[in-house]
Symmetry: C2
Subunit: 151 residues, 2 copies
């Protein structure tokens, strides 16, 4: 699931190091995603799968695939395949929507709920490690900078 390392540039001699901050951000996120996928892999999940399960658990009711796609910011065809795999794993079931025959609802199974809880624990562990690695003095500035960067 990894992203390739970003192309290094032949440094244009402007403010020294400024060009590299963007790549540092990509690299840090990349490394973090690796850790998350590895941790979740230990309980048979991925970030994508955990995302779907978490939505369903939090909603406390079955949700249409369209709604899941919207909440997780992906296209519907992606959700079709993701739910295919979750169904094959026995973590989710498709049920017909009685009120709209176009719609298909995803319903989390008992096993899916258990797996979601395990995944959430793994995720929390990684998050703790992340927070621990963060220089406390820079935490606020990081949060501020990231907020400014996300439009």
């Amino acid at each position: 699931m990894n992203r390739l390392k970003v192309p290094t540039e032949s440094a244009p001699a402007t403010s020294p190091g400024a060009e590299q901050v963007m790549f540092s951000l990509l690299g840090a996120a990349h490394a973090l995603e690796d850790r998350l996928e590895r941790a979740l892999g230990q309980v048979g999940l991925s970030m994508s799968k955990l995302g779907v399960l978490t939505q369903l658990v939090e909603a406390r009711e079955p949700l249409p695939l369209s709604e899941l796609a919207a909440r997780l910011s992906c296209v519907r065809s992606n959700m079709t395949q993701l739910v295919d795999r979750l169904e094959a794993d026995g973590l989710v079931r498709r049920i017909d929507d009685a009120s709209d025959r176009r719609s298909v609802l995803a319903s989390v199974t008992r096993l899916g709920e258990e797996r979601q809880a395990e995944g959430a624990r793994q995720l929390a562990k990684v998050r703790e490690g992340f927070t621990a690695a963060l220089p406390p003095a820079d935490r606020a500035a990081l949060a501020r900078a990231l907020a400014a960067l996300t439009p």
Copy 2:
């Protein structure tokens, strides 16, 4: 090429906001990658393709696929396919390595060099936008925090 949005958590009431910093980082990187892929798409490239072309241009000589995979931190099978597509695009040629018959070298074409230059310009534009969006007061702290985060 997008990553799904990260699962939101039912906030455990520890230090307020601290849990979310990790997700902010993933989100910011995600948005940034989107912008980069879109900018590169305008010249028919992707981050992965530009990465390969840039390595070849900077090396000023053909490189073995293994070497490219190592430099871009991906597995060799990925490089095989990436070079397949670059070759189909006419940006790269495979040539036999006379000194080691196991090895295959990737050689950037004239068109590939031109495309790399265009890609680098697109990348620089995005980077400028990135830097502009960054609160100057937080730049150093961001760089420091990201460095601490990348092991």
